[in-house]
């Protein structure tokens, strides 16, 4: 018996995102035999979904960065949440270690899943973290190179030797920090704008080509994204 609850909030705006459905990203940790149920978050979703829609709907352009600026709660409310579990009465009737959580971010179609943890609550947290990273990696926004100045969140992940990075930016933020995703997103926007050329991108952020390569190689997902782009342009991968 599949309970199917459909999300009430329909996006009322166009998404000028360079995101195509083929690049939908599914992280799977195990295969599992049960059908997935489409479920939304049961708490107060109507009001907050409307609020989330408002923050995103400023005129005609949704900036990907805004998704990452939402709180976890707000982000989850833009998602359809599937709990992969068997049919039946649940609750006291069941002992089934099935606590996988799958989030589908409706505005972008990005899917993040977590099942490696032993509690559902923790899997939900992991799925949201993964969703953030995927949004940063997959959702591109166009950059005007003529008027380019690196945003603060990008400056924060640059090494101190960058010539455009003032000391007021504070210590360098590494991949373990939550804020790294925002900087990574801005860096990818730039690298996409210069069509994958590391030496070109390095000029805009006051680094040597070598220093930028090292930064890209410091994070596996960032490296993969850059190398995928370079491969699509017939360039050699960074190693």
């Amino acid at each position: 018996m599949a309970h199917k609850l459909i999300w009430k909030w329909k996006p009322t705006f166009m998404l000028p995102l360079t995101f195509n459905s083929q690049s939908k990203h599914v992280i799977r940790f195990h295969h599992h035999p049960f059908s997935s149920l489409k479920i939304h978050h049961p708490i107060n979703y109507t009001t907050t979904a409307a609020a989330a829609a408002n923050t995103s709907n400023n005129g005609d352009c949704v900036k990907a960065k805004e998704f990452l600026e939402l709180t976890d709660e707000e982000l989850v409310r833009q998602c359809e949440m599937d709990f992969l579990k068997s049919s039946g009465a649940g609750g006291q009737h069941r002992n089934k270690r099935e606590s996988a959580v799958r989030l589908k971010h409706l505005p972008t179609g990005i899917i993040a899943q977590a099942s490696e943890d032993r509690s559902q609550h923790m899997n939900r947290d992991s799925a949201v973290k993964r969703l953030r990273a995927l949004i940063a990696l997959k959702v591109r926004k166009t950059v005007d190179l003529d008027a380019y100045s690196p945003p603060r969140e990008l400056l924060q992940i640059l090494p101190p030797k960058s010539t455009v990075r003032g000391s007021e930016i504070g210590p360098q933020i590494g991949p373990k920090n939550q804020k790294f995703a925002l900087g990574m997103q801005a860096l990818l926007d730039l690298i996409f704008a210069v069509e994958g050329s590391i030496s070109e991108a390095a000029k805009y952020i006051g680094l040597s080509t070598g220093a930028l390569s090292r930064l890209i190689l410091s994070d596996d997902s960032l490296r993969k994204e850059v190398n995928d782009l370079r491969a699509s342009k017939g360039m050699k991968p960074l190693k």
């Binding site: 309970h3 199917k4 609850l5 195990h30 295969h31 599992h32 035999p33 149920l37 479920i39 049961p42 708490i43 107060n44 949440m81 709990f83 579990k85 068997s86 039946g88 009465a89 649940g90 609750g91 006291q92 009737h93 069941r94 002992n95 089934k96 270690r97 099935e98 606590s99 943890d117 032993r118 509690s119 559902q120 609550h121 923790m122």
Partner: protein, 367 residues
């Protein structure tokens, strides 16, 4: 009372003795030395596997042999249990096996080496290799719940000790903690007040709301089952919440007489399965979990009605309640009952679905 206490006394040593007859108030069970004269019974909560000292050492090849044997059994189950009573299938059993190894073995870097032959290395474990064979046999042959095998359940961000005699907390129930966090974040009065979790079992809800919700006041957890009382007290102690959460033994509201009409909030996941459905439950539940934690009477609603009556009396004006139920039918029956019989004291009823879309919870307020 159908308590099977005999199965609870297992040989793991634990350095405390709870004299649960002597204390209706188990606030500080570990420091109590001045005892009353009533005959003490000792309930020693088991230490979950992952907290035991790694005093056993096994050759890596023997450990690997056990692992391959256990994995082979898990795989051979296929969908046998699914077909017989909607029990676990191979993929779930294999995942449990991985978690069993995590809890039993000290050095987790070992798991990446499972593919290699490594004869010299020794594995430090929290349980002997023979017992590891027994544990997995019990899991498969007796369908002993995985959580009893390892002595704990991961619930929200907590790891709660559980053992035979105590209900294993369910993922659905995690949501009640979210409801409470939500309501106290908007209401200072509820935040400062005294809360109660009736039929606390492992202490899951009491610890969940006591730890996460920012409740400034106290939480009182009750259970009629002395094993639950001992285990809940142990879990409270593990999370250093003994100053905030008090565990009391007794039936529903009986241990709360001193705070009648003063409760800010009340949560409960009482037994709600209709009696005739108990025999058809999946083996892990029906054969191993205590009936006193599951059986809710003919239509499963005996205790839910009792809790509504109690809520009307024990909550203070503006107080909040949240109960878990068996599903839509019970939710509706409960709301009807309160509308017809308790509307002079209770109001703002709401039915909330769980993550699987099943209408699971009834929440509301005292006028």
């Amino acid at each position: 009372m159908k308590l099977s206490l005999s199965s609870v006394y297992t040989p793991y040593s634990f350095p405390i003795i709870l004299k649960s007859y002597a204390f209706s108030n188990l606030c500080k069970p570990f420091c109590s030395s001045a005892l009353s004269s009533s005959p003490p019974i000792s309930l020693k909560p088991q230490v979950p596997l992952f907290l035991r000292p790694p005093i056993y050492s096994t050759k890596f090849c023997d450990f690997k042999k056990w692992h391959d044997w256990a994995k082979g059994i898990a795989s051979s189950i296929g969908s046998t249990f699914v077909n017989s009573d909607n029990g676990p299938d191979s993929s779930i059993l294999c995942r449990e096996l991985k978690w069993l190894m995590e809890d039993a073995v000290e050095d987790h870097s070992l798991f990446s080496k499972m593919g290699f032959e490594n004869y010299d290395e020794r594995v430090k474990m929290r349980v002997g290799i023979e017992e590891l064979y027994d544990l997995w046999k019990e899991r498969i042959e007796k369908r002993r719940p995985f959580q009893y095998v390892v002595g704990c359940e991961h619930w929200r961000d907590l790891v709660l000790s559980v053992q035979e005699g105590v209900l294993i907390p369910r993922p659905e129930t995690e949501l009640i903690v979210d409801f409470v966090c939500d309501v106290v974040s908007k209401n200072e009065d509820l935040k400062r007040g005294v809360w109660a979790d009736l039929g606390t079992g492992s202490g899951a809800l009491a610890i969940g709301i006591g730890g996460a919700s920012g409740i400034g006041g106290r939480v009182i957890a009750t259970d009629i089952n002395p094993v639950s009382v001992a285990v809940a007290a142990y879990n409270v102690q593990r999370y250093c919440l003994q100053d905030k959460i008090e565990v009391r033994e007794g039936s529903w509201f009986e241990p709360l007489k001193d705070i009648e009409g003063k409760l800010a909030g009340l949560v409960s996941n009482p037994p709600y399965i209709p009696s005739k459905e108990i025999s058809g439950l999946q083996a892990e539940v029906g054969r191993h979990e205590p009936r006193v934690a599951l059986d809710g009477g003919i239509d499963g609603m005996d205790y839910l009605f009792h809790l509504c009556d109690g809520a009307a009396l024990f909550l203070k004006p503006g107080g909040y309640f949240a109960f878990e139920t068996n599903g839509e039918q019970q939710c509706r029956a409960l709301v009807d009952y309160m509308k017809n019989k308790r509307s002079e004291s209770l109001c703002n009823f709401e039915i909330v679905a769980d993550f699987a879309g099943i209408q699971r919870f009834v929440i509301g307020f005292h006028h």
